[in-house]
């Protein structure tokens, strides 16, 4: 019952200004920050999906990323640190016809708000989440984040982080999110496409966006320029091709009780074959027959049908 409305008219030329609040500009973001690209991509995705601004809500947490909701001309809710998915859950249940996009930083989504994110993914209400992963706490001045890579320097890990970074992809899979994609601010066309894909189906759809905080993380890690960090995104990621990957190895299923257990493929790399350590971008997984459980919260909802057991 909560599938986003189909495009009403063919959307053509995109004018970013129409999706911004001029009275809130200039933004508080540093010049060159990837957040501007992400805001623009979200606006484009909404535009090309043909969604009316009145029918879109943006719910953000706290952080540089959290500030995004103030700049976007939707129904916007700038919440508390980490809690955006919980606010969004209440809003979505009250107004299922709204397209609700949550926007969170890496600390917001995976540290203080980790539990809310996990449960939002598990519930699979029709929410879209954009998680901006810049490997650092931007707003508070460059502290360690749950995604800081091992060895990465931050103001609270001066000799380099030694904690294992969070694997959002595995987390999303385990929690049962319907859709997971990864994009970078260097591949903005792909980023827009991934947000469009996230907007176009039911269930909880998460897009992880690799972004640059050259001003803090970059400076502490020998990439003080935005351009350098963007170039690294190109070198360190590779386009995901789910079909090829499916063929190459059986998909990992962590919690899907409905799926019969399949023996894991031999995970040992073939002798002499170099494994690709680059992060994949694009659609990483999408559950077939994607489910939206929102209807179950309303008394008049039909009992779950077969297609929900994906």
């Amino acid at each position: 019952m909560t599938a986003p409305a189909p495009p009403t008219q063919l959307q053509t030329s995109f004018i970013l200004r129409e999706y911004l609040r001029p009275q809130m500009l200039p933004s508080t973001w540093c010049p060159g920050c990837g957040l501007g690209i992400i805001l623009s991509s979200i606006a484009q995705a909404v535009h090309f999906r043909g969604l009316a601004k009145d029918q879109v809500a943006m719910v953000s947490g706290i952080g540089c990323t959290g500030r995004m909701s103030g700049y976007a001309d939707f129904n916007t809710l700038h919440t508390t640190h980490g809690r955006a998915p919980a606010f969004a859950t209440g809003l979505k249940l009250a107004r299922p016809e709204l397209t609700v996009i949550t926007v969170m930083g890496d600390g917001d989504a995976m540290s203080i708000g980790g539990n809310h994110l996990v449960h939002a993914m598990r519930r699979n209400l029709g929410l879209v989440a954009v998680v901006v992963n810049n490997s650092v706490y931007g707003l508070t001045g460059g502290q360690l984040s749950p995604t800081t890579p091992v060895g990465g320097h931050t103001t609270t890990a001066r000799a380099g982080s030694f904690e294992r970074p969070m694997n959002l992809e595995a987390l999303a899979r385990a929690a049962g999110a319907a859709f997971f994609a990864r994009a970078t601010v260097n591949h903005s066309f792909g980023l827009t496409k991934m947000v469009e894909r996230a907007l176009s189906g039911p269930g909880f759809a998460l897009v992880e966006v690799i972004s640059n905080c050259h001003v803090l993380y970059g400076k502490m890690n020998e990439t003080p320029e935005a351009a350098g960090m963007m170039m690294a995104m190109d070198a360190n990621t590779v386009r995901s091709n789910p079909t090829l990957q499916r063929r190459a190895r059986l998909p990992v299923r962590l919690t899907d009780a409905e799926t019969p257990a399949v023996p894991a493929a031999d995970a040992r790399p073939l002798a002499g074959v170099q494994t690709d350590t680059r992060l994949r971008r694009g659609v990483i997984f999408e559950r077939r027959g994607r489910v939206d459980y929102s209807g179950r919260y309303y008394a008049q909802s039909a009992p779950p049908g077969d297609d929900e057991a994906a």
């Binding site: 009145d54 909701s69 939707f74 919440t79 209440g90 249940l93 539990n115």
Partner: protein, 381 residues
């Protein structure tokens, strides 16, 4: 039609909420409040509402704010430890002026304390639990019947003043089953969610009209605006401009104060000729009311002031009494939270004595009468 039911306070709170128009509940189970969630999980879908059990109390508070912005009257219920977890987002609701109702059924704290025993230890947490100065409303019932009415009133006040309202119960009232006259729904005064009357271009979501609140537009109905926990101007945009910040405070600080006659509620039992006054509330006030009868049969002119709105506190009533009686006794299931208020308001004019316990047991009428006898004897000496 009015009908008679036999219910405990938690049930009365749930039924009162439904009658008041509550259509969204998000919560996390905790003794002694869980019955409210259990009942509403069945009742809300019956009336077209939504129930959701969240991952914790932080999320519960967040979800009811989100749902309220979506136009549904919303509530959550919890007890001490959960109430602590709600404080961050409770402050968000104050800051962003979003109506919602939080039921806190108090038990003995701090921490896990005595989970199944009644207490009144969250009085000050209800007042000052979230950080920063802020106005707040907290209502405290003494019976299942009153719980029903105060639940309705909590939603009305939340809508009227665009503020979170706390229904501060104790386990005595929450778990005591007694007769409740359930009023005919048509006889109840219900404050509906006000809708803006101006076109979106002229709409100010957070007007700074000293002591007045404007209507809160529902998300998705054409009024696109920004809601933030940052200090903001009338349009909701964050600001650090000291002039705007002062104007905001002017509005926030006077929001309730300008309407005390509309908000304040208390009951006076045999105070007209009293020369000794009890100040008691919630479950404890039941023992206090009985103590008044017992003491009077011994010739002690005892009376009772029973605050129903704990916050704002009925200050004038206490000040007035301080000029009439020769002393106050404050029985409460904590170590003196309302006693401090009474001391502050009587400002040294008459002695204020506390009768406190936080060991999980209740204060009996006899204990109160003994305290009254002692005070009386002192006065006669």
């Amino acid at each position: 039609m009015t009908h008679i039911a036999f219910m405990h306070g938690n049930e009365a709170a749930a039924e009162g909420a439904v009658a008041a128009g509550c259509r969204f509940y998000a919560g996390y189970p905790i003794t002694p409040s869980s019955e409210i969630a259990e009942i509403l999980s069945g009742r809300l879908p019956e009336v077209g509402g939504v129930f959701i059990q969240m991952e914790d109390e932080i999320a519960s508070m967040a979800a009811i704010i989100g749902a309220s912005l979506g136009g549904l009257k919303s509530a959550t219920a919890t007890s001490g430890p959960g109430f602590s977890l709600m404080q961050e987002n409770l402050g968000f609701a104050v800051m962003s002026e979003i109506p919602c109702v939080v039921v806190n059924v108090q038990r003995v704290g701090p921490s896990t304390g005595l989970p199944t025993k009644a207490a009144q230890g969250d009085v000050m947490q209800a007042r000052w639990g979230t950080h920063g100065d802020h106005p707040i409303i907290a209502l405290t019932p003494s019976s299942a019947q009153e719980t029903y009415h105060l639940a309705v009133r909590a939603f009305n006040l939340a809508e009227r003043f665009r503020t979170p309202v706390i229904l501060l119960m104790d386990a005595i009232v929450a778990q005591l089953k007694e007769k409740v006259e359930v009023p005919d729904p048509a006889s109840l005064q219900i404050v509906p969610r006000a809708a803006p009357s101006v076109p979106p271009a002229d709409y100010k979501p957070f007007p700074f009209a000293r002591g007045e609140v404007g209507p809160l537009a529902v998300f998705g109905q054409g009024y696109r605006y920004h809601v933030t926990g940052l200090l903001h101007d009338e349009h909701g945009y964050p600001t650090e401009d000291p002039a705007v910040v002062s104007a905001w405070w002017e509005h926030m600080a006077t929001k309730l104060d300008a309407h005390l006659d509309e908000i304040l509620a208390w009951e006076e039992v045999q105070l007209a000729d009293a020369d000794l006054a009890l100040v008691a509330y919630g479950g404890t006030a039941r023992a206090a009311a009985h103590a008044v009868t017992l003491a009077r049969s011994e010739g002690i002119k005892l009376g009772l002031l029973r605050p129903i709105t704990l916050w704002p506190f009925p200050e004038e009533a206490v000040r007035r009494l301080a000029g009439q009686v020769r002393g106050f006794i404050v029985p409460e299931l904590n170590l003196g939270q309302i006693r401090y208020e009474v001391e502050r308001l009587s400002a040294g004019r008459v002695p204020v004595e506390g009768l406190h316990r936080a060991d999980g047991l209740q204060i009996t009428p006899d204990q109160i009468v003994s305290a009254a006898r002692a005070a009386h004897a002192r006065d006669q000496a």
